[in-house]
């Protein structure tokens, strides 16, 4: 509720944490999907981002929190302003609650003002609230198909186009879409899978020590949230600084031709559909290098992001019992060496 579990205190779930951090450093990776067992802390990890992310500069008084330095993604109102004084605001991590209706997602005519004052005013929806931040959908496979389609469209274009009730407007809606769910409730359509940048399989940890660590920390948190957060505060701060440094470094990371070749060979060997896989693989590898302080991508980076970048893009052969992850691991071992 009010106090969120600190990100740095999450034990285990390394792949999920890495995918979230990469998305925080580079929103253009294309969001992520976390599918897996119940009670493994998927939601906890995503929600903990809110207090982890470094603050950002936004135009003061703008309801879309426009970035004053990025002129081409300003909203109409900000473009019209003569000066754009800015202030530091937290990065939004917006939860899309189950049962949310389309009008609140896209935004709609402000009912109150229309009824009481006869004014036609746009009331921004969740897409506007999530601009420049994260939009989190828990149980994404329970969401109505048309809403999921809509969200993915907006996430890809970075802009929300509203045409309803005589309103006609567009506003920036650049956000990282994070979905989570449990495959028991039904699978996602492959068309949708492909639209998520990264995909993470969340499994219950298998070693007892990790269990004990998770349970003890969680228990400590629930008994004294404030004290627990205070204890982990400086760990969170360290990650926050690394994210900021990673963002600054991102533009300078060099991708050698040889690595590009390797990435292409990997995608060909795995027969991934389309080019989106390779693009995501390169973006994720570059972001990982930036986050870890390297200025050039090499095989080690590829190796670590291959599974989350590609696992949901493999053609499924239902008769082949081998899971996607195992197939990727095998291809990685063959092409990049063990």
């Amino acid at each position: 509720m009010s106090t969120r579990y600190p990100f740095s205190a999450i034990a285990g779930q390394d792949e999920l944490k890495l995918a979230l951090l990469l998305s925080a450093v580079n929103p253009f990776i294309g969001g992520l999907l976390a599918f897996g067992d119940r009670g493994t802390g998927k939601s906890t990890a995503v929600r903990s981002l809110a207090s982890l992310l470094p603050k950002m500069r936004a135009v003061a008084g703008c309801r879309y929190r426009c970035d004053p330095d990025s002129l081409d993604s300003l909203c109409v109102e900000c473009k019209a302003r003569d000066s754009r004084p800015s202030r530091n605001v937290p990065v939004p991590v917006v939860d899309l609650p189950l049962g949310a209706t389309e009008d609140r997602v896209i935004g709609a005519l402000d009912l109150e003002r229309a009824l009481t004052r006869g004014e036609k005013v746009f009331e921004p929806g969740l897409l506007a609230n999530a601009n420049r931040g994260f939009l989190y959908i828990d149980e994404v496979n329970l969401l109505d198909d048309h809403l999921v389609d809509l969200l993915l469209d907006v996430a890809a274009s970075g802009e929300n186009v509203v045409e309803r009730e005589g309103l006609s407007l567009r506003h920036p809606a650049q956000f990282v879409l994070v979905g989570s769910g449990n495959p028991e409730e039904g699978e996602l359509r492959p068309q949708l899978l492909d639209r998520f940048g990264l995909s993470v399989e969340v499994r219950t940890p298998t070693d007892v020590d990790t269990w004990i660590e998770i349970v003890k920390r969680r228990d400590a948190f629930e008994r004294d949230p404030a004290g627990f957060c205070a204890h982990w505060q400086h760990h969170d701060a360290r990650i926050r600084r690394r994210i900021a440094a990673g963002r600054r470094r991102l533009g300078r990371v060099v991708v050698p031709y040889r690595t590009l070749e390797r990435a292409a060979a990997l995608c060909i060997a795995l027969k991934t559909d389309g080019l989106r896989g390779q693009l995501t693989l390169m973006r994720a590898a570059r972001t990982l290098a930036a986050y870890e302080g390297d200025l050039e991508i090499d095989d080690s980076h590829l190796r670590r992001v291959a599974a989350p970048a590609l696992r949901h893009r493999l053609r499924r052969n239902p008769l082949d019992e081998t899971g996607s992850t195992a197939r990727i691991d095998r291809a990685v071992a063959e092409l990049l060496g063990p």
């Binding site: 009912l111 969680r218 228990d219």
Partner: protein, 580 residues
């Protein structure tokens, strides 16, 4: 406890203890899943809960059929129209803040609604993003799910079960009154001070892993339960008896296996249930392994013998919310297709009026409309404002496979049938179609896979498909028909696919005999024809014969002989038939 004339002090059963512990910490423990039919035993259990609850926790009912709007809350149309500005109607979950929420027939609660309740339990609040409204209200409640399902088909949605600390079975609990009000009250005060030794937390985690429990919520609940019991017992340091009791109440019902490598139990005379609280200082400290063993012993003591002897695959899949398919089918019926926005229209002509969108359409005109009129209604809605819900009608197709698993060729045939089901599923989930699977052998036909789109679930239940025995064809037709009718009732489009040689030799009542069984099978086959179901009979015997062909003709279905059928060919044939 005050002893009056009857001084028979009965030790309360586990279910009763669970009720008392929940009364101490209703929010921390999440709630109780109570299995058992309604009756005096359950009433007594609920009475115990009610009696022991301090008065600040009200008991409220969560009606099973309350829809999403009522659960979450939204726009209060009546008062909005009266007052002339949007008014919020609080939902059931927000109203239940601080209360004990009782959900009857929880096995019939839909997974969609379960997810909403689960989200509220996780965050302690309910977020409304509906009908142009945005609010958050506190919704901290404790859920008592009364599960009356008596078949494997009907189980409480997993998302809920997961979040309830205790799962109790009332079938073996006697109805007895148990008054522990004083204990509950003082336990509440003592609870924040309770200390739990690290070694016990470790032992509980190890026990949970050893019992094959997948969710981390289980050990967390066990720790809480141990603390609560310790507080209830009037102590401040959690003992191993508390931990053993917590394991029995929390871990045992979730166990999926017994620990594989058993350590010999040294010294400890196990079964540490009813010992008196001892002096904590004097107690010799057992080693970590011993602690885990003590906890595991406590769990084993309550697990029925032979529980996990069945194949792991079926055991794991059993609780997997099989009711999903059925319930969501029911929902599609209620909504008639997927909602796809609204359009201008007339609610009189079969459309469902969408009040919020109608109000929105009317809103911009209020000034103009009010200008000319007298004072009465605050909001003026005219016919041209009406907006009705639009649904995209797309009835999904479900292929019901009835696979002959009898006789000698069964193993091969089964393997190919399984392969075909998996191939079809891979295809189906692109088109949002579904598959169900009935296997018949021996004396009966079993629904191995209720209609599903989940490849994962299919694989798990297919893994355990056995073969051999007689051919109860009639039972298979009957089972398939039942599924087909359910699907049709909920607006779906069923196709029956029989993989058999058509030679029945077991009647519906389980008796053997070729001619009687055949006659009966054909009788049921005529029901298929009467029902007008699309049917496909695939003859998979090495020498295709008359029996299967007759079956197909009687059903007015298509006959295909595939003596050397492999998974690919079968799935292709069925896939063709599924196309409209």
């Amino acid at each position: 406890m005050s002893s009056k004339k009857q001084t028979v002090i009965m030790t309360p059963g586990d279910a009763t203890i669970a009720a008392v512990l929940v009364a101490v910490d209703p929010l921390g423990l999440g709630g109780v899943l109570v299995r058992g039919t309604s009756g005096p035993v359950r009433d007594a259990w609920l009475a115990n809960l009610r009696k022991n609850l301090p008065s600040d926790n009200a008991l409220r009912k969560l009606p099973m059929f309350s829809n999403e709007d009522r659960l979450i809350g939204g726009l209060d149309i009546a008062s909005t129209l009266r007052v002339g500005r949007p008014m919020i109607e609080r939902g059931l979950l927000a109203d239940a803040d601080g209360a004990i929420l009782i959900l009857s027939s929880s096995e019939r609660f839909s997974p969609q609604k379960a997810a909403i309740v689960a989200a509220a339990m996780d965050t302690g609040e309910i977020a409304i993003e509906r009908n142009g409204l945005t609010t958050r209200s506190a919704a901290r409640f404790c859920l008592i799910a009364l599960d009356e399902g008596d078949t494997d088909e009907e189980v409480t949605p997993r998302a809920l079960v997961e979040r309830l600390a205790f799962h109790v079975d009332l079938s073996d609990d006697a109805a007895q009154e148990y008054d522990a009000r004083d204990g509950v009250w003082s336990a509440r005060l003592r609870l924040p001070e309770i200390k739990l030794p690290d070694a016990l937390a470790t032992a509980i985690c190890e026990a949970a892993v050893g019992l094959g429990i997948a969710s981390l919520r289980a050990p967390l609940f066990a720790l809480k339960a141990a603390r609560v019991h310790c507080a209830f017992d009037g102590r401040t340091i959690v003992s191993q008896d508390d931990a053993a009791l917590a394991a029995r109440l929390v871990l045992a019902p979730r166990a999926t296996r017994l620990p594989s490598s058993e350590r010999p139990i040294e010294g400890e005379q196990s079964s540490s249930q009813q010992r008196h609280p001892r002096d904590e200082e004097d107690e010799p400290q057992p080693s970590a392994d011993e602690l885990t063993d003590i906890i595991l012993e406590a769990v084993k003591a309550v697990l029925p013998p032979g529980l996990f002897e069945r194949a792991d695959a079926t055991a794991g899949g059993r609780a997997a919310g099989r009711s999903d398919a059925r319930v969501s089918a029911k929902q599609t019926k209620a909504r008639r297709g997927r909602p796809a926005g609204t359009e201008k229209g007339d609610p009189g002509r079969g459309g469902r009026l969408n009040l919020v969108e109608t109000l929105r359409a009317a809103a911009p005109w209020q000034r103009l409309r009010i200008a000319g009129a007298s004072e009465m209604p605050k909001v003026r809605v005219r016919r041209e404002d009406f907006r009705v819900n639009r649904y995209r009608r797309r009835s999904e197709t479900t292929a019901i496979f009835a696979v002959d698993a009898s006789g000698s060729a069964a193993l091969h045939r089964l393997a190919e049938a399984k392969g075909a089901v998996e191939l079809l599923l891979a295809d189906c989930y692109v088109r949002r179609d579904k598959i169900a699977l009935v296997a018949f052998r021996g004396k009966s036909a079993d629904i191995l896979l209720p209609p599903t789109r989940s490849l994962q679930r299919a694989k798990r239940s297919l893994a355990a498909l056995p073969g051999g025995g007689g051919t109860p064809l009639c039972a298979a037709i009957e089972a398939s028909l039942t599924i087909a009718e359910t699907i049709r009732r909920s607006g779906g489009n069923p196709i029956l696919v029989f993989l058999t040689d058509g030679r029945a030799n077991i009647s519906r009542d389980g008796s053997a005999g070729h001619s009687a069984a055949m006659a009966e099978a054909l009788e049921y086959a005529r029901l298929v024809r009467t029902g007008g179901f699309k049917t496909l009979v695939i003859d998979v015997s090495p020498q295709p014969g008359e029996a299967a062909r007759t079956l197909a003709t009687t059903m007015a279905g298509k006959y295909v002989a595939l003596p050397h059928a492999n998974a690919g060919v079968i799935s292709h044939t069925v896939s063709q038939a599924m196309r409209p």
